[in-house]
Symmetry: C2
Subunit: 323 residues, 2 copies
Amino acid sequence: MGFAQSSHRGGTGMDYGRFADDQVKAIRDVVGTGTAINALSGGVDSSVCTVLGHRALGERMKTFFVDNALMREGEPEQVVRTFADLGISVTLVDARREFLGALAGLTDPEQKRQAITDTFYAKVFSRLVRETGARYLIHGTILTDVEETVAGIKRQHNILAQLGIDPVKEYGYRVLEPLVTLRKDGVRGLAKAVGLPAAVADRMPFPGPALATRVVGEVTERRLATVRAATRIVEEELADTGAFQYLAVLLADRATGIRSGQREFGEIVVVRCIESRDAREATATRLPWEKLEALCRRITSIPGVNRCLYDLTPKPPATVEYI
Amino acid sequence: MGFAQSSHRGGTGMDYGRFADDQVKAIRDVVGTGTAINALSGGVDSSVCTVLGHRALGERMKTFFVDNALMREGEPEQVVRTFADLGISVTLVDARREFLGALAGLTDPEQKRQAITDTFYAKVFSRLVRETGARYLIHGTILTDVEETVAGIKRQHNILAQLGIDPVKEYGYRVLEPLVTLRKDGVRGLAKAVGLPAAVADRMPFPGPALATRVVGEVTERRLATVRAATRIVEEELADTGAFQYLAVLLADRATGIRSGQREFGEIVVVRCIESRDAREATATRLPWEKLEALCRRITSIPGVNRCLYDLTPKPPATVEYI
């Protein structure tokens, strides 16, 4: 159920200021004197929704950033600060225990994804919806999400159903999707037009299940700390490459090594760095050897890690992420 | 218990022909009219022992090549053919079922190594010793093996104990070690001097537990076929690099991919290629990107494999092998 009736598609020549004004007015018309809620992930889609919602509703727009324990180093605090600088108050919700509890013992990728989705919608976000009394949910669905759901690549994300809300029985709940006519480049243009900093507008893609997607096998606090440290190194080392996306993955397998003359059965980190236009196809970046060796040196100095591998595989046959 | 009393160390100026003659004479003196046995792996150490033993004893030297199901493509047949060309008859023993049975269900690296060692010594080779009536075992121990055992890096390999033979109770068993005073370069020099082809004399190091060392997780016939195909590709593609050693490893982890539009949870192959003088320290070879991409293309065309990674890690902190 689209919200943005005007059907702009982004691209050259589009008047993003006008588009933003249209969406702000539409949100205001629909919500009236009610309360709306949204979950901010820090990605460009939910960031733009946050700005549009606050412009339309002010204090009646309730924005939450859920710390699911799967974020990158300093990410929750940084997202909240970015919006504070724009005069928008974001509530940081510490749900780390709930997510880690739901993930404990799971190694199957689908079960892990499901546990994260269920914890987010059925536990954390549905509680926030009840507590705020919000009957309007603003969601950053974009056109590509709709297309990929139709094509069977993404799973159906009916938010109300995921929250356990039956929109027929519980009259009044409504999902607003102000970006549903745009593709990613349109959202990025809109982000700049509404005053979001370039760090948000041009942010590298980062998956919804966050670092859980970067941990093969069980997701534990200790393993998250390892992949978080590797992620920081990869982002620091590869920021100047102009690559489309770069990331670190912690494998479940271990390999033998030697540390201080002792045999060690250590962890394995994979570095992935890709060139792509739209993430539908991708090739591995031909990084200079000095850069690869610097990455390896820093990553194998993370406690417990004694291997660093570089992913050579294009998409297809590989995907960008591992799970 | 060393056998080569003359204590040559190889190196420049050494008279390998004289050394070989000395060892042949010593074997003949010790074995007399008895029968000796040895296991040929195809590596340079056991190959030289085979030639020396046959020169000394002729038909009373029984050489067996045990096919443990863990060999590279065509390796058993090729080793037998190489020696046939030298006029030496090697008996090929098909022990594939016994090794695969012993490895079934094992994922722990130490348990896998132990299963291979036990199957080889306690089952297969001890049976051959009994059947041949041999009381003399010729073994390709080299000086580095002795040093590494003393240093605690390698495990003690007392062959008679591993065969379940108590040399005191069962009087007459004796292990001959004609190469025990040499290092690898000395053995390679000796190999050429006794007429072994360069493919054997200069053969790249290959571990005793063979492809089992290249399979992380359970070793099955299907997984061996995958790593065997990857090994052939790596050896073909990297033969012209002059690298010290190159190999393919099949991980137990899997990663998502897309094949013919379908989501696929595929296997991961790691390519390792190193520069080294003596395997004690090593660095990853800076392969050209064209070569890495060709490797990736061929390896991801192996059924079920959708990722190809390149190992960047020096030794230390990594070892050359994974398990």
